[in-house]
């Protein structure tokens, strides 16, 4: 076992590098992923080491990125596409929903589509519009896709490799504002949990916080800050499929639950969690599952994002409310 302290973006980079070393069919493609190494430097140095045929600076056309990745997969490759920012995945939406997600099923299982679509997502970095979106619910509602989000360097390193090894298409969300967070990373994957599993990131007994991606850290901080209650934090990690047993176990133990994400609450992923948990844990719940998230508006100008994004106070306010029912 060997560990190394890495930033999340560096851990992504090491994970990609490992995957490329292990399998010559793995390709990296996207806008500016080559010499520049991507706008977040996640692909830094890969083109230099693996060449232009495997690390492809693509035309500026997202539908094309996903569409040609599908074609490459049909020819036996394992493309890892980078969508430069969350807000730019929408031109590729048709290729993702109608083609990538459905092709295996449409082919009666004869075709395999091991395509990973990496999306740096979420706000909190003071960016201009379209650079802070949280579009995960569009994908979790789309059968045929696996949807995961990493929250820390260790998972970034591990989960990207698991996603690339997966024979199904994976939408891989990266918590943009955590790219610079550092933590020790275990470089040996052999003991790693499956990327389909949720993990209890912090144990507690009074209330469960459910989160993924950037909000896991926020929830951990909230749990830490709360001196009165014992707060459990579950890192969902895999949004589809959902690791129901880990989630339900926790809620059944605590009897209270708050779901936290940056995406708008209305019809967001939290709605599914709340509905499912209520159905599965009806008699265990002391209060309804509450949701803390972005508002049902377009993402605001960055000077307002501190209001828009859930923070420690808003999370704890919701925790308070679960005790007031």
């Amino acid at each position: 076992m060997s560990t190394e302290t890495l930033s999340l973006s560096r851990a992504m980079n090491e994970g990609l590098r490992k995957a490329m070393e292990n399998d010559p069919k793995v390709l990296v493609m996207g806008e500016d992923v080559g010499k520049l190494g991507g706008v977040f430097r996640v692909t830094d140095g890969l083109q230099k080491d693996f060449g232009e045929a495997r690390v492809i600076d693509t035309p500026l056309a997202e539908s094309g990125i996903v569409g040609t990745a599908i074609g490459l997969a049909l020819r036996g490759y394992r493309p890892v596409c980078e969508i430069q920012f969350d807000g730019f995945v929408f031109p590729a939406f048709n290729q993702i929903t109608s083609q990538l997600a459905k092709m295996r099923m449409r082919s009666l299982g004869t075709l395999e589509l091991p395509v990973v679509i990496r999306i740096p997502f979420g706000g909190g970095i003071g960016a201009v519009e379209h650079h802070s979106e949280s579009p995960e619910a569009y994908f979790t509602h789309t059968g045929g896709l696996r949807v995961v989000a990493c929250s820390n360097p260790s998972d970034a390193y591990t989960m990207i490799q698991q996603a690339i090894a997966c024979p199904d298409p994976v939408i891989f969300f990266e918590p943009k504002r955590r790219y610079w967070d550092k933590a020790p990373v275990e470089l040996d994957l052999s003991a790693a949990a499956s990327f389909e599993s949720a993990v209890v990131a912090r144990e507690g007994t009074d209330v469960t916080l459910l989160a993924y991606g950037p909000m896991v850290k926020t929830c951990l901080e909230a749990a830490q800050a709360d001196e009165e209650r014992s707060i459990e934090v579950v890192d969902i990690r895999s949004l589809n499929p959902l690791d129901e047993s880990t989630v339900m176990d926790s809620v059944r133990r605590t009897g209270r639950c708050v779901v936290v994400h940056e995406a708008p609450v209305f019809n967001g992923y939290g709605a599914e969690l709340a509905a499912r948990i209520t159905e599965k844990c009806f008699y265990h719940l002391e209060s309804p599952v509450l949701r803390v998230g972005g508002f049902s508006t377009p993402y605001p100008p960055s000077r307002l994002e501190d209001h828009y994004l859930p923070d420690l106070d808003r999370v704890l306010d919701a925790v308070d409310r679960t005790f007031e029912w």
């Binding site: 045929a53 693509t58 035309p59 056309a61 539908s63 094309g64 996903v66 569409g67 040609t68 990745a69 599908i70 074609g71 490459l72 997969a73 049909l74 020819r75 036996g76 490759y77 493309p79 031109p91 048709n94 290729q95 109608s98 083609q99 459905k102 092709m103 295996r104 099923m105 449409r106 082919s107 009666l108 299982g109 004869t110 075709l111 395999e112 059968g143 045929g144 696996r146 997966c166 024979p167 199904d168 389909e196 589809n240 499929p241 959902l242 690791d243 129901e244």
Partner: protein, 375 residues
């Protein structure tokens, strides 16, 4: 509200008509005369020509069978290839087995050339599956209904060929209407920038459902390619010789590192868009009559007769064979089993998926609850 005439009322005042005059590559006239072309030619033995003729007759027959099956309620809908046989057989026969073809939803003739069992083409239209063949086995991809999407798959596949080495090529089929979609144009961008070994095969059958070509373009479609930096060529899509020659050349260019070519096969959709369409609402009988004279099969027959390459017996035997194949397909179509309910959850993911497993189990026990009642 009116539109200022001087500004050009949309969409009628295109600078140049997109469909006329059809300056195109032709090697066989509608009357069955062989003509020379300075750049394109094809040497064909009598057997080869007869084989092409056989293909044309069989795919037309299969098409008629499918239409009949639809009228009888055995298929939900059918997209007829009537009139486009030469475009499909000519291009399909230009392919090597290891080339990869990406169809839209009307390329039953190409499917035939790729040795896809005609019955498995019917599954989608009968509603028993979304596709009935293994695309890898035939190097013939799934039908793609979302217009234009497959063009990018083909471009990506061709990029894969480049990375593998060797001299395969990819070909992608789409219609005149499809040329307006962003995806088709992006596939031009990608293929040109990557110099990918791909042939874009556009069957311009003059109509996108009810819309004539003028709604999509004011110049001939083959010229679109120039703007992206690769050659475009218009071929008589009802002339199987010319289509074969032009496609072969384009594929060879792709193989030898010269990148993409756009072929516009100038043809005509003789039938309705699909069996749910009513073309009398939007087009004139006269147009149809004019195109009947350019029939892709008649001209090969005339050529064979004129050159005494085939006699009445031959033509009858082909008709008989087509009939036999047709009846066989009809019989096997009726036998296509409805899928089991649990097929809903199959093949969605390669590996286990807890959500789907849960849904499937719940539904199965729900179905079971009826049996209990019945028992």
């Amino acid at each position: 509200m009116t539109i200022d005439a001087a500004r050009g009322a949309p969409p009628s005042t295109g600078a140049q008509s997109p469909s006329a005059p059809p300056e195109l590559v032709q090697l066989l006239t509608p009357e069955g005369e062989r003509v020379e072309h300075p750049e394109y030619d094809v040497e064909l033995t009598a057997d080869e020509i007869k084989s092409l003729y056989r293909d044309l007759v069989i795919v037309r027959r299969l098409d008629q069978e499918a239409l009949a099956l639809t009228r009888q309620g055995e298929l939900g809908v059918w997209a007829s290839l009537l009139g486009q046989e030469a475009a499909q057989i000519g291009s399909g026969r230009a392919l090597r087995p290891t080339d990869m073809a990406f169809p839209s939803y009307r390329e039953h003739g190409v499917a035939w050339c790729r040795d896809v069992d005609p019955v498995s083409v019917l599954g989608l239209f009968r509603g028993v599956n979304h596709s009935g063949w293994d695309p890898r086995e035939h190097n013939f991809h799934l039908y793609t209904i979302v217009i234009g999407s497959q063009s990018l798959h083909a471009a990506g596949y061709a990029m894969g060929i480049q990375r593998d080495g060797g001299d395969d090529a990819a070909i992608v089929y789409f219609g005149d209407g499809a040329t307006s979609e962003g995806d088709v144009n992006e596939s031009f961008v990608w293929s040109a920038a990557q110099n990918a070994p791909i042939v874009f095969f556009c069957q311009n059958n003059q109509w996108a459902i009810s819309e004539p070509l003028e709604r999509q373009s004011r110049i001939p479609l083959y010229r679109r390619a120039e703007g992206f930096g690769f050659p475009g060529i218009r071929v008589d899509g009802n002339d199987v010789f010319a289509v074969l020659a032009v496609t072969r050349k384009a594929l060879d260019n792709a193989r030898s590192g010269q990148g993409p070519t756009l072929i516009e096969a100038f043809t005509y959709r003789m039938g309705a868009h699909t069996t749910t369409d009513d073309p009398t609402r939007y087009r004139l009988e006269a147009e149809l009559e004019a195109w009947k004279l350019k029939d892709p099969i008649e001209r090969v027959k005339a050529y064979l007769v004129k050159n005494q390459m085939a006699d009445k017996d031959f033509f009858e035997s082909i008709d008989d064979e087509a009939k036999t194949i047709g009846s066989d397909v009809r019989r096997r179509c009726l036998e296509l089993p409805d899928p089991e309910a649990t097929a809903i959850w199959e093949n969605v993911y390669a590996t286990d998926h807890s959500l789907l497993a849960g849904e499937r189990d719940q539904f199965t026990s729900y179905l079971g609850s009826f049996e209990e009642v019945t028992r």
